[in-house]
Symmetry: C2
Amino acid sequence: MSETKRELILEAAMVLFEQRGFDGTTVPMIVDKAGVGAGTLYRYFENKEALVNTLFQECVNDVLETLNQSYPHDSNDSRKQFAHIAKQLVSYANKNLTALLFVDSHVNGYYLDEASQAAYMRLRTFFYEFIDQGKKNEIIRPLPADALIAIIDGAFISLYKSCRAGEIEETPELLAGVEEACWDAIRIH
Amino acid sequence: MSETKRELILEAAMVLFEQRGFDGTTVPMIVDKAGVGAGTLYRYFENKEALVNTLFQECVNDVLETLNQSYPHDSNDSRKQFAHIAKQLVSYANKNLTALLFVDSHVNGYYLDEASQAAYMRLRTFFYEFIDQGKKNEIIRPLPADALIAIIDGAFISLYKSCRAGEIEETPELLAGVEEACWDAIRIH
DNA sequence: CAGAACGGAATGAATATTCATTCCGTTAAA
DNA sequence: TTTAACGGAATGAATATTCATTCCGTTCTG
């Protein structure tokens, strides 16, 4: 039962933070949406900043865990690795799109503490390793990893924003097309 | 002379909004940075929201104007058009990177009014037309324009964020590489 | 031409509002 | 019955906005 309230608060905060940003979301908004008293929030979180940081770390770790699930670390087939990344990203988006968008939009927040930054760095390192290996094997372009990651990230995030807005429909063909476009962006031709 | 104070406020607000977001930036911060009295801000802008909206519209229009400068509207050569877009984007980034990042990070703000959204839509329409034409000529992939735009946008924005952070250096080779990666992402192979 | 009157621009202290956080009475659990 | 969880009004700090006043360049006036 005590876990429930904490979950309710985290869930409500995630939705609001994603929609309005950290500073644009007030504690009254959060507790209202969560259906708990203001004091309850402070039972579980030291303050508003501790709440975002906890939430951010949980989401980031969740995403990273999903990516790592049966990831072919030892393969030298970058295309296969990329297919896995794309598949897991899609899978996570369907499970918890809000979390994905929340992480994406809070990555540069000045309120993120060291633990949050470290957690995010671990996620980026996953991508760095994928890209470095592909560069070494001369499969992936010799461009800054950050730029290549941004291409993949930007494509998937915007894809799902459009899906959520009802502008486009998430079909297997569409997903395959976006995956191919991203792959063509990062691979050497 | 009366324009000067207004410009000072807009410039200070742009830098702060870009760094800390709309809600993370207080009016005292803005007037402090601008070196004007609090009341002066309200002489030129109805309130804080009117300030972001004015700023947003000015920046968006500025970007669009740059993109349109000698753009080959009537050409059917999508590659040439894309080269122009990339060149002008780079040119604008060098002129006013803060403005570019400000627009990018405020595009989804709940505080944007209709005029701001309309201005932004005009910018997107520029890209839509480029992509639609390329699709019609079977040069550009039949994917949602939003996803294709996101790839280009994501790549350039993240590139310049890395440059500004001093992580990478903006060389002609790098720019050419990113341009090529984006083009390979959107074109049919 | 001197200087008085004017008006718009600018100021920053004062005000009203909103917000994060605390505190304590109530409720539920053990 | 004791203890922990909870709610929400109360608090004080921070914030956006207002407004009475000053400042200064321009324009009238004698």
